[in-house]
Structure formats: C-alpha cells, structure tokens
C-alpha cells in the first residue's frame, strides 16, 4: 500500500464527509422555494459535486501505484505547531481582557522562548522592544483600535 494511495483514501473520505454535511445543510434550506430555485439549491449542487469528485479520488487511490516521499516530519515538529497555535488562539482569548500591550508581550515571549528557544535575556528584550514599536506604530501613529485591557494604555 503506497503512501499516496493511503493518504488519498483518507483525505478523500474526509472530503466525502464534508460534502455530505453541506448537502444535509442545503436540504434544510429548501432546494425549491415558491416555484423557483430556493436558497439550498446552489450549495446542494456544489456539495454533490464535491462528493462525486472525492469519490473519484478514492477510486483513483486504488489504482495509483505512486510511492510518496517518506514523511520526514517528527513529533518535535508537531509539538512546535501545537505551541504556535496555542500562542495564536491564546492571543485572541487574552486580548480583550489583558489589552494589547500585555498580550503582545506575552505572545512574543512565549513564541520566542518555547518554540525555537532564544536565550531568556534576548527573548525578553526582543519581546519588549517589538511590543513597544508595534504599540507606537499601530496604536499611536496609525490609530488602530486595540483593547486597552487592565493596563491604562
């Protein structure tokens, strides 16, 4: 079983699922409404197309004999990705409460220190300097509305 075949099979199944979900949604919005095409008509057709195309991919995966390049990603890579995403979503959660300055500083410190570790001193300094520059540039100069949060600024 080639890697490509397995991957196409799995992703194809996922796409069939996505397509069916959209199909089901479209049926709820009525395909025909008052004698004309209803709000569900267009997404229904497109979702059916997605299901059919995915089915073709799945069928094709049985015939494919290509070998995929070996997957070189290590668990270490996954750890970094998860950390980066925690930083990203954490920023969104924290921003309304902690305000722009504090949240930005924490985000930068976190990303600098825990993903591709930079020395503490360098990390703190870079995070503080970048936060200051961004604050001056975006909030003060360009007038982007950012939450102030618990700090006065």
């Amino acid at each position: 079983m080639g890697n490509v075949m397995k991957r196409d099979l799995v992703t194809g199944l996922v796409w069939v699922g996505v397509g069916l979900l959209f199909c089901a949604g479209a049926l709820r919005y009525k395909l025909i409404h008052l004698g004309a095409y209803g709000p569900g008509f267009y997404p229904f057709i497109v979702a059916c197309a997605l299901v059919l195309l995915s089915a073709a991919l799945i069928l094709g995966s049985y015939r494919s004999r290509e070998e995929a390049a070996p997957d070189t990603s290590a668990e270490k890579g996954l750890r970094k990705i998860v950390l980066a995403l925690i930083g990203l979503f954490g920023f969104g959660i924290l921003l309304p409460y902690a305000g722009f300055l504090l949240t930005t500083f924490i985000l930068l410190l976190f990303l600098l220190r825990f993903i591709e570790p930079v020395r503490w001193v360098a990390a703190v300094f870079t995070a503080a300097a970048t936060t200051g520059v961004c604050y001056a540039l975006f909030v003060r100069w360009l007038g982007v509305q950012m939450p102030r949060g618990i700090l006065y600024f």
């Binding site: 919005y29 004309a36 209803g38 497109v46 990203l88 969104g92 309304p96 600098l112 360009l142």
Partner: protein
C-alpha cells in the same frame, strides 16, 4: 487621443507626492518580504491593511500593488545569493542564478534579473494600457449569463493551471464555492451554514481566510520541518551591470519572457510562477547550447525573471476589468478595495478612472523605483537575510494577528484565521493546492448571484447559458479544459502537468 489623456492622468495621479511616497513604501516593503523567505506578500499586505483604512482607495491600492510586484524583484535576490527562493515565482531562478553566483558572477546575475524584471514589468504596463479599456468596455455588455459563464471559465482555468492534481484542484474549488455560500443567501436572505454564529452572517471574510491559508500555514510548515541554516555567498558585488555579451545572450530571452509572462498573467491561476517555469523551459529548448542550463546560463535567469514580473503586471487586467483576482495576493487587493467600497470589475474604469490610471501609472513609477532601489541596496537585503527564523516567525504571527483583529476590531477574525491556518497546513501536507479555493471563495457569491439572476430571467431553464454566444463559447472552452487532461492521461501514463517537475532538484 484618449491614449495620451490616459497617460497624462496616470502620471498626474501617480506623481502626486503622497502617492509617490506610498509607492516607494510599497515597493520597498515588497522587496524586503521578497527577500525574506517565509514572509510572503500576503502577511505584509494583511499587516498594512489597517493602515490603508485612513487612506484614499487610490493611495491604498498603489501601496499594496507595490508590495505585490516588489516581492517578485526581491525573490530573485535570495534565489541567486543563497539558493533559497524568497518567492515561489523565483524557484526556477535558483537553478542558474545560484550557479552564476558560485562562479563569481553574482553581480551580473542580480543585474540582469533587475533589468529583465524592469523590462518585463514595463511591457506589461504598456499592454495593460492598451488592452484594459476595450476589454472593460466589452465586459460592460455582459449580462448575468455571460458573467456566470466567465466566472465558471475563470474557475476552471485556475484549477487547470494549479500545481498538482487537477482532481484535487477541482475539489478545492468546490470546497471554496461552499465556503462562499456561508452567510446570507443573496435572494431570500436565508442564513446558510452560519451555525448561529452572528459574525458569519456576512459570510467568511476573504482577508482572514487568505492570511490563515497562506500566512499562518506557511509558518506552521516551516516550524514542522528543520529550519535550514542559510549560508550566504560571500562575494563582492562588483560589476552589477551586465556586459555586452551578457546582454547579447539575455536579449531575446527577455523579449520572449515579456510576451509569455504577460499572456499567462491574463489567465486566472496563471501569473508569475507558471510564467517563470515555462520561460525557463522555452529558453532551454530554443538555446543553441542547452547543456549550459543549470550550470550558470544567463538566459536561464533573464527569461524567467522577466516573465514573472511581466506576469505580475498582466494579472491586473482580469482583476481591474473583470473583477477576477488571479491569485491569493490579488484576492487580498480586491478585499482591500472592497473595504473601501470600490468593487473591481468592468465598471471600475468608468466610475473610478483616477484609481485605475493612478495604479497603472504608479506601477510604472514603482518599476523605476525598484530598478534604482534594488541594485544599490543589495548589501542591505543581504543583511536582512541574516535575521534568523526563530526571531522572524513570532513577528509574522504577530503581524497576522494585528492585521486580522483590526479588520473589524473583533476576535472572531483571529479565530477564523487560526482555523484556516490549520486547514491550510493540512492541505499542504496532503498535497492540495489552496489557490483554487481562494479564487472560488472570492468568486462564489458573485457566481451564485449571476446564476440565480440568469435563471430568474429564463424562468428556471439552464438553456440560457447555452443559447447566448459568449456564454456558450466560454462554457465549451471550460469543458474542453476539464476533459483535456483526462484525454491526455488516457494516452500517456502519469499526471498531465502544465509545470515541469519541481526545479529538478
């Protein structure tokens, strides 16, 4: 003569001091992100979007367009000096550009790519001036069926030209169209697929989706792999100006690259990347000594570099005259214009002539700035290249976050961006190209509206798309494009591909 009036207007607008400054800022930042691998034009445009809210639409598009074509200039620098393409369109430049640098000819390689880019860019702008007005006039006569057929053709073309499997590209297109259906239905106002989330009522915003799919996912991909140490070629950059022999070898490739790039730029899904690959293949085929290609042939640098800039200029035609953005960066530009209440399309030229001609003029000015800027500043770009990725990626993430939040001052755009960052990462990992998805997401709502209007017109009969000549031709062409790869496949084993194998490395 209308042509000269247009030129006068173009330069009157683009040479206004503020516009000139913004054009400079745009091309400067564009070159910088082009130089920095891992930081693409999408991230920078998203960062600068909040800045444009306080500008006029003309000023904002002048600056954002500068970033777009400036990035192509910058991308070649890293290809030549460190064998890392700063931009996808510069992948092919690595082959001969880096070899030239290793032979101590980094100067002429950088020089010829700057001149080639300038010539290609200029050619594209001249053609834009000639082609856009008649095209926009013709498109003005389009009714809903023609528009629907045109968008269908655009989508098909984008899948056809996308990298990788056509089937997967079609799936991405369908998925993009479905994402475009999220929000209020254009006819009845029914909320579709909003999951009762208020923010989704107006549909998925183009900008956070593009930032996620192209900005954040790029960071995730880079973090997953081993971060390559960049070894910068230590060489003195003397003799940046190409010699007479260099010009002789590069002249025709530049001329051919200009025409090829521009023509491909017109096609949705075309533009810089494909143009550069095809130009390389073409030059290798036409060369009297093809064996020098890959070993430092100057034609292999000049042709593709010209073609990608000419292609970047060409991509503005479908955007400004038909409202079809050919790639993700242009989708962002379109999003920016729409935030300002300007919808790109056939009416743009009539309703906002200042904007149209101002952008065209600024592109010319920008090209001159780039030529002047690039050669003396190469030392600075080399310094910028030395910024390690561990300092760079937190900045990219922060810029995307600020850009996403400031769109509507709402955290929901950050969440959308994050989710699409994950989706984009997975798509890349499993061999799906996200470009058709973006195009479909942008065009989806307009496509549906055009279809619905046509069907109201014809009392529900689909024959309306086949009974009008223009839409018939476009639909037949689309089906030919769709079926053609299958026929090819039947005759030849392996997937039919428009692109030569990835840089043969």
């Amino acid at each position: 003569m209308a042509f000269f009036d247009h030129i006068t207007m173009a330069f009157a607008v683009s040479l206004e001091p503020m516009n000139l400054v913004l054009c400079f800022v745009g091309v400067f930042l564009g070159t910088m992100v082009g130089v920095l691998p891992g930081l693409g034009p999408t991230a920078v445009i998203s960062l600068l979007l909040p800045l444009t809210f306080t500008m006029t639409p003309v000023q904002s598009i002048i600056m954002l367009a500068g970033i777009y074509y400036g990035a192509y200039y910058g991308g070649s620098t890293t290809s030549i000096l460190v064998n890392i393409p700063g931009e996808a369109a510069s992948v092919i430049t690595c082959l001969d550009g880096y070899q030239m640098a290793r032979q101590g000819r980094a100067g002429p390689a950088l020089g010829i790519s700057a001149f080639g880019s300038f010539i290609g860019g200029t050619f594209a702008i001249l053609m834009l001036m000639l082609v856009a007005p008649p095209l926009a006039r013709a498109a003005l006569r389009f009714g809903p069926p023609e528009n629907a057929a045109l968008m269908f053709f655009g989508l098909t073309m984008a899948t056809y030209l996308s990298s990788g499997s056509t089937l997967k590209a079609l799936m991405m297109m369908a998925f993009g169209l479905l994402l475009g259906a999220i929000g209020k239905d254009p006819v009845s106002g029914t909320m579709r697929y909003t999951l009762d989330i208020l923010e989704l009522g107006e549909g998925l915003g183009i900008v956070p989706v593009v930032m996620g799919l192209f900005g954040i996912s790029e960071v995730l991909i880079n973090l997953e792999g081993k971060i390559r140490e960049r070894e910068i070629f230590k060489t003195k950059f003397k003799n940046l100006l190409p010699t007479k022999t260099d010009w002789k070898e590069a002249g025709w490739p530049i001329a051919r690259g200009s025409v090829l790039g521009f023509s491909l730029g017109l096609l949705p899904g075309g533009g810089g990347i494909i143009a550069s690959f095809l130009s390389y293949a073409l030059e290798k085929k036409l060369s009297s000594n093809p064996e020098t290609f890959g070993k430092g042939a100057i034609a292999g640098v000049a042709g593709p570099e010209t073609a990608n800039n000419s292609g970047a200029g060409g991509t503005f035609i479908p955007l400004l005259t038909l409202g079809i953005p050919c790639n993700a960066v242009l989708a962002m530009l379109m999003g920016a214009l729409m935030i300002h209440g300007v919808t790109p399309g056939p009416l743009l030229l009539k309703d906002h002539p200042h904007l149209f001609w101002g952008v065209v003029g600024s592109m010319y000015v920008g090209n001159i700035l780039l030529l002047v800027l690039n050669l003396p500043l190469i030392g600075l770009w080399v310094q910028i290249l030395k910024i390690p990725y561990r300092y760079l990626f937190p900045l990219i993430i922060l810029f995307c976050l600020i850009g996403a939040y400031s769109l509507n001052n709402s955290v929901s755009d950050i969440v959308i961006m994050g989710i699409f960052g994950i989706i984009g990462f997975l798509l890349k990992k499993f061999g799906y190209d996200a470009a058709p998805l973006i195009l479909a997401l942008v065009l989806g709502p307009m496509f549906e509206e055009a279809i619905t209007q046509s069907l109201v017109f014809s009392a529900g009969s689909f024959s309306i798309f086949l009974s009008r000549p223009i839409s018939l031709v476009l639909i037949v062409l689309s089906f030919v494009l769709l079926v053609y790869p299958c026929i090819l496949k039947a005759f030849r084993k392996g997937r039919p591909s428009f692109l030569p194998p990835q840089a043969e490395d």
